[in-house]
């Protein structure tokens, strides 16, 4: 294949995983650049996984300060005030991640991610954002899609026992192993905005209730101008009201979004370490797939709920006329 050979050091370090995805995928990985925004527990797990896998670089954006809550699910922040005092979340996580794999360049970008221009996102092969408002998700997704090169876009959010991943790979060509031979495949992904504006009525009945519940809370936070996660159980009446409106607009039954589920999502805004490990593992593998161009990707939503232990893949796309 094209590209330089892996160095001896890389071959030695990555030996066990090269046996999973091959030297060619490892070469692509080591030349890839990843942008990460929102350093929560799930994202910390994700970063650990891709740094160990040996991507080329990881750029972290998160100017928030270290809080007690950040400590409890994010193992990248050691509970020693001397280590994190006066540093942003991104800076502290960067220090830890660097140690995991000296061959990966980990750095911090300061500033408000929504003001970063399109060309900034063009420096990356994959963009992963978390703790973002609806507006921010749409905006960053749009900027990624404006670029001629494909920038894989992911959002990830965990609320208590539940987790959600959204994937946008635009036009995505990849290969996958089918028994002995490799087949070429192609998939077309809708943008985040297009995805969530698919009328609910048009979706199959079996679509995870979590999908709708997460959209209601997302819209509620957007309408109230809140930061993600700032909504709590005290907002239940408002959220229920919005659910009613949305269900009416979409002409679906309110039972599609059970009260109990919304309550649960509002009740625990913090993360559970095991759920972080699970979602971070899946997201890590998805990004590795997208970069190496190997294997079926998730299309385009993934939901995990620790209550029943279910992991669900949902393809939420606008039905297009058959040509």
């Amino acid at each position: 294949m094209n590209g330089e050979e892996l160095t001896e050091q890389e071959t030695a370090l990555y030996d066990r995983q090269i046996r999973v995805w091959g030297a060619d995928a490892q070469r692509r990985l080591s030349k890839s650049h990843i942008l990460v925004y929102g350093m929560k527990g799930t994202v910390a797990e994700f970063c650990k996984n891709i740094v160990l896998a040996g991507v080329g670089s990881v750029t972290l954006v998160d100017d928030r300060e270290v809080t007690e809550e950040a400590l409890s699910a994010n193992f990248l922040i050691l509970p020693d005030e001397n280590l994190y005092h006066g540093k942003t979340l991104a800076e502290v996580c960067c220090d830890s991640l660097k140690e995991f794999n000296p061959m990966v360049h980990v750095s911090v970008e300061k500033g408000d991610i929504s003001t970063f221009g399109v060309e900034f996102f063009g420096k990356f092969d994959a963009v992963v954002i978390s703790c973002c408002s609806l507006a921010k998700k749409k905006l960053i997704n749009q900027k990624c899609r404006k670029l001629s090169k494909r920038v894989a876009f992911y959002t990830v959010d965990c609320r208590g026992s539940c987790g959600e991943i959204f994937v946008d790979l635009k036009d995505y060509k990849y290969s996958k192993k089918k028994l002995e031979e490799t087949v070429e495949c192609q998939l077309e992904f809708p943008s985040f905005e297009d995805t969530i504006s698919v009328p609910w009525k048009a979706l199959p009945k079996r679509v995870s209730k979590l999908y709708f519940a997460m959209r209601v809370i997302e819209q509620f936070e957007d309408a109230e101008g809140r930061n993600p996660g700032e909504t709590s159980i005290a907002d239940l009446p408002g959220v229920l009201k919005l659910r009613k409106e949305l269900c009416e607009t979409n002409s679906v039954n309110e039972s599609q979004i059970p009260d109990a589920l919304l309550e649960r999502l509002l009740m625990d805004t913090s993360e559970y370490p095991p759920v972080c490990a699970i979602i971070g593992g899946i997201l890590g593998q998805e990004v590795i797939k997208a970069i190496s161009g190997k294997g079926d990707p998730l299309k385009n939503f993934f939901f995990f709920d620790a209550i029943d232990g279910k992991g669900l893949i949902e393809d939420i796309s606008e039905p297009k006329p058959v040509s």
Partner: protein, 773 residues
């Protein structure tokens, strides 16, 4: 049918174990004579993705399956609706511990249930609802419900400055959090799974309380290829003990963690470390192992001590988890994968037909040449007279064989200079890839037939052809290089730099005089699967004794010519060092052999994969497996869960596929009105005699015919001598036969009794604990 020899792929149909039909007209083909090897290839297929509209109509894409019928209890739905209505009507949550609010809440729930009619529940369980109302404000959460505790306590306030997984207290209640903190956990293994587990339990606050204790053990040290997923290790930790490094990294994640790191492999030989006390004190065991044998051992211990065992494993992008909960689920060993297939020895020795056979042979030759023989030489040299006595006493074929190898190594093939090593390597090449093949094809010519008249060289046997050594063939030279360097290492001869220069090496090889080979008549070659032991351990004969004496005499002469204190250096195969030439030699041996038999060769990486039995591994699936296990850990530590609450998972991140199922309950054995599972033990008190034990079983309709304690047979009714044991105490017989002192703190021993019912059917009964004080 020479037309088939063009190597082009052909479509086939009606595939059976020994035949298939060609999907083409062969009427014009020539006559089939004999032989021929067919290789299966798969033709690429174009896959058509469904258009979206069709896909939406038929959403067959949900890759998940949950095999259990698990549904959140309908009562909980009602409770939540009631809570919703309560908040609407009263404008607030029920006050914790307020009876009045609870009553109101229950009556709302009752109304909702009535309105549901058919869909309602039979019993609205006021007690549960009271708890629900009491705790609604603080810890009301289905998560908590699932974890068994609708916990009616107030949220424990944070003690500031101290690191705590605070969220969990508010989510699960302080009771579960206390259980987590005081848990005595044993993590077996500190590799990839172990590192992830340590991180998770540290964050969860497991074993962080004053009563808590986490023990982790691993006898391995850190090496380079670990670092790509065992993320608690750094470059500078290479060579250090895995468990110690991981434990201190975990403490830095959570300084409250009470952890002890040990470097013992868990197994029968370390039961003095992991003794009864140790096991009895545990709350839960988490396996983080990489092999089935160790898993089976831990499973047996957990079964014996009735401890929950959380099991998981990964293979590439796949991962699986299995919960083993005393009395609720089957144990790990209850359902096993079929054992790995091993090629018969004669296939490996003389009739390989794929590269795996060649690599297996290469591994075994490597061991014989570089590890076993030098070790045997050293055994002889370090105490010649004792060694000689042992060999004379044994006086069997193996003794003779050992002595021959030592003599060969110290006499004919003794190396003093590096050139000697090159000569040795060149002659080995000739022996392995030329002479042996000539001998084999001399004994079994290409047209040889078996006793039934069928052609001897028919599939899967491949007819071998000798190689012609050439210094212009790079793989020949590479073989010579690796072999001579490793040979030099065993003799302690320094390796000159010129060996890496192919021209210089070629020159050195050309100096070697290679004697002509004449195949011999009457050489025996194993052709069918025979019991290896039967042939190799043939009884000694007078001839052997004489030969052994002569060999020892020659050896003695050799020894006097050696420098004093001379020892060889045995080399242990190490797959992971790319500079040690081990894999080069193995790949060389295997590929040259593959050439003999026209088997496709493999590159060094693939060779290492097969010969090193390397398990491909990535960080993501490991992280996911441990996350899934830790969710189950909450349930285990919360206690009192039903089997339906637990989940076993299988996931493949490459597909991606996530599926889960309830664990399988243990198999229930029944006899008369009794029933038991693998988790049960029967207890017999009062220090019984063997006869009393047998009578006790007889009363249950079980005829005991054999009693054993560990690996010692205490009683079997086929041995007349055992009759005299009938009136002895079981414990005394055990002391006598097992020659084992029972520890003073122990008041019972466990025996296994084989029984039949009155119809002579074997009945698998539980272990019996015999109390003798």
């Amino acid at each position: 049918m020479k037309e088939l020899n063009d190597g082009k792929p052909r479509k086939i149909k009606s595939v059976r174990p020994y035949s298939f039909t060609l999907e083409e007209d062969t009427t014009n083909f020539g006559t089939y004579v004999k032989g021929g090897i067919v290789t299966q290839v798969k033709q690429p297929r174009v896959l058509n993705f469904k258009p979206l509209r069709a896909a939406l109509k038929d959403p067959g894409d949900f890759l998940l399956s949950d095999f259990s019928k698990f549904d959140r209890p309908p009562l909980l739905h009602i409770a939540f609706q009631a809570l919703d209505r309560f908040i609407c009507e009263i404008g607030r949550f029920p006050v914790a511990r307020s009876e009045e609010d609870a009553q109101k809440f229950i009556s709302i729930a009752g109304n909702i249930n009535e309105c549901l009619g058919e869909g309602g529940v039979e019993d609205i369980n006021p007690k549960l609802l009271t708890h629900f109302a009491f705790g609604a404000r603080a810890v009301l959460n289905p998560m908590a419900a699932m974890f068994g505790g609708i916990v009616g306590q107030e949220v424990v306030k944070a003690c500031s400055g101290k690191f705590h997984p605070l969220f969990q207290i508010s989510v699960f209640g302080s009771k579960l959090q206390k259980n987590l903190e005081d848990a005595k956990v044993f993590i077996v293994g500190s590799g990839a799974l172990g590192c992830e587990f340590l991180k998770n339990v540290a964050l969860m606050g497991v074993s962080c309380g004053s009563q808590g204790k986490l023990t982790i053990t691993d006898d391995d040290v850190i090496e380079k290829s670990n670092l790509s997923r065992q993320f608690l290790f750094r470059d500078w930790n290479i060579g250090q003990a895995k468990s110690t490094v991981a434990a201190s990294a975990a403490v830095s994640i959570n300084p409250q963690l009470k952890i002890e790191a040990l470097q013992n492999r868990v197994g029968p030989e370390t039961e003095f470390v992991f003794n009864d006390d140790f096991w009895e004190n545990l709350t839960v065991v988490i396996n983080a192992l990489d092999n089935v044998d160790a898993r089976l051992y831990v499973d047996q211990r957990c079964l014996y001590f009735q401890k929950p065992l959380l099991e998981s494993g990964t293979l590439g992008a796949k991962c699986n988890t299995q919960m083993v909960i005393p009395h609720l689920t089957e144990n790990y060993g209850a359902s096993r994968d079929p054992p790995e297939k091993q090629a018969p020895m004669c296939t490996v020795h003389s009739f390989p037909h794929n590269i795996d056979h060649c690599l297996t042979w290469a591994r075994s030759e490597f061991e014989g040449l570089l590890e076993k023989t030098p070790a045997e030489v050293n055994a002889y040299l370090s105490n010649p007279s004792e060694y000689a006595t042992a060999m004379r006493n044994a006086a069997d074929a193996q003794a003779k064989d050992n002595l021959e190898r030592i003599l060969q190594c110290l006499e004919q093939e003794k190396c003093e200079t590096f050139q000697d090593c090159v000569t040795w390597a060149r002659l080995r090449f000739e022996d392995y890839f030329v002479n042996r093949v000539k001998q084999l094809t001399f004994t079994f010519p290409e047209d040889a037939t078996t006793s039934t008249g069928a052609p001897f060289w028919s599939a899967p046997k491949r007819f071998p052809r000798p190689l012609q050594f050439s210094t212009t063939d790079p793989s020949h030279l590479q073989f010579i290089m690796a072999a001579s360097i490793l040979r030099a290492e065993t003799f302690g001869i320094p390796v000159p730099d010129w060996v890496k220069n192919t021209k210089m090496l070629a020159k050195a090889v050309e100096k070697v005089i290679v004697p002509d080979f004449q195949p011999k008549e009457g050489v025996k070659i194993e052709t069918i699967e025979t019991d290896e032991r039967a042939t190799s351990l043939s009884t000694g004969s007078v001839d052997d004794a004489a030969v052994i004496n002569e060999l020892l005499f020659k050896l003695e002469r050799c020894r006097n010519n050696l420098p004093s204190g001379f020892r060889m250096k045995p080399i242990q195969f190490e797959k992971d060092d790319d500079t040690n030439y081990h894999m080069d030699l193995i790949a060389g041996l295997a590929n040259m052999r593959a050439r003999n038999y026209s088997i496709p060769e493999v590159d060094k990486l693939k060779a290492k994969f097969i010969a090193g039995r390397i398990i491909p591994a990535i960080a993501t699936s490991t992280a996911m497996a441990t996350g899934l296990v830790c969710l189950e850990l909450y349930k285990v530590l919360d206690g009192a869960h039903k089997v339906e609450d637990y989940r076993n998972t299988f996931a493949n991140l490459a597909l991606p596929l996530f599926s889960m199922a309830e664990p399988v309950p243990p198999k229930v054995m029944k006899h008369r009105d009794m029933s038991w599972t693998v988790w049960d033990r029967w207890i017999l008190r009062g220090n019984p005699t063997v006869r009393e034990l047998i009578q006790w079983l007889k009363d249950k309709g079980l005829n005991a015919y054999s009693i054993s304690y560990g690996s010692c047979l205490l009683f079997n009714n086929v041995f007349p001598r055992h009759k005299e044991r009938l009136d002895k105490k079981v414990v005394d017989v055990a002391r006598e036969i097992a020659k084992e002192d029972l520890p003073p703190y122990r008041s019972h021993l466990d025996v296994v009794v084989a029984c039949e019912d009155d119809e002579d059917n074997d009945i698998n009964i539980p272990q019996i604990s015999i109390y003798y004080r």
